[in-house]
Chain length 194, copies 2
DNA sequence: GGTCCTTGTTCAAGATCCTGGACACATGAT
DNA sequence: ATCATGTGTCCAGGATCTTGAACAAGGACC
């Protein structure tokens, strides 16, 4: 789930340099226990501790995490469970892929529980947005128009027009949407449950 | 000293996305206090916390630390206080620059207190090494030969020959040395104080 | 002026990490 | 065999990080 095996990588680097836990610990000014626990992923070290240890190897922090996915080549396929959820518990907003320089769009998998509402104060921000209602129904207000959209319906508008999403039904509503430019956190597409 | 302003970078990323501490906290499943304290560098977060927060931005950990020095352009100048010390308290071994792929040498600034000794079991490892005695005297054994080297003297040998350093004088001995390939921790250039 | 909301900071209590010392298991020397 | 040394793991206590709730400062609105 974490997506990065801190302990395993540290152990690999240590073995590579033919150091014992105690030897490395001495150079890093930590104890051997610390290194043992970290290598077993029994604890998640503080970055200050991790830095002390890496300095003693020596390996820079950026080198250490360089193997992290999602950086080099743009990812193409995403499993449902690896989408980062930026919701608040009630609401679920899953972003398809991390925001990445060079990407001109943000795609979201949104789930509005009954009663969910983006708020009375209308949203306004730069860019454009569009989406498809996958299941359930949603009340969408754009400018002066209010529409009830159901499964299979869709929308597309200039985000500078004041807009608001509201699930007035009694079932969950699922939407897949896209925004451009990629600022899903455009000053308040936050959602309030009422 | 740390060389990387975690708090400042986090704050910059958050502001960039126009999020409040509370908003980000909610998405990351941490509290606003945590983010406040981290941003002020009042604490050094655990990597698990940091990862939760970065996931909510979303920014990958490697991106976060990508600004770290010592990665992109090779560093050229090093202040004495920024050399990483890999000694054990008694002994001081300062490495000139972090080990870096593409570097074929490790350069060390070594300080042997009186009585310091690399141990009776001779060191043997791949590569070559050479150095200059900057001050004090050192007894260097290489193969069958034993030599007393003083200030200004120097040495160079194939590291596969068994070798040993010993400070038999009563003053500290300072040496600047170079190893190739860059594996200063080659199975035991560790130093024991006797 | 009020009141309301949002912002960032601070503080005690709880959770997690880190330490220092044990422990069990190896290997090599006597 | 018994030491002696080196390895990684485990455990109580202390140090550090994280939480939840308070606080003060700044708008917005009436």
């Amino acid at each position: 789930m974490s997506g990065f095996d801190v302990g395993g990588r540290l152990r690999a680097l240590r073995i590579e340099r033919d150091l014992s836990q105690r030897e490395l610990a001495k150079r890093a000014n930590v104890t051997n226990s610390t290194i043992s626990l970290i290598e077993q992923n029994s604890v998640s070290p503080s970055v200050s501790s991790l830095k002390k240890i890496l300095d003693a190897l020596p390996v820079s922090i950026s080198e250490f995490f360089a193997g992290e996915p999602s950086q080099e080549e743009p990812k193409v396929f995403y499993r449902a469970e690896e989408l980062t959820d930026i919701g608040d518990g009630q609401l679920s907003w899953r972003l398809i892929g991390a925001r990445r320089p060079g990407r001109s769009m943000s795609i979201l998998h949104e789930r509005y529980p009954p009663g969910a509402d983006t708020g009375e104060t209308m949203l306004e921000h730069d860019g454009e947005e569009g989406g498809v209602i996958v299941s359930g129904t949603i009340e969408l207000t754009v400018g002066n128009e209010v529409q009830q959209l159901g499964t299979g319906d869709a929308y597309y508008f200039d985000s500078r027009l004041p807009h608001r999403f509201r699930n007035v039904g009694d079932r969950e509503c699922v939407i897949v949407s896209a925004n451009t430019p990629p600022s899903f956190s455009d000053g308040g597409d936050a959602c309030h449950h009422v």
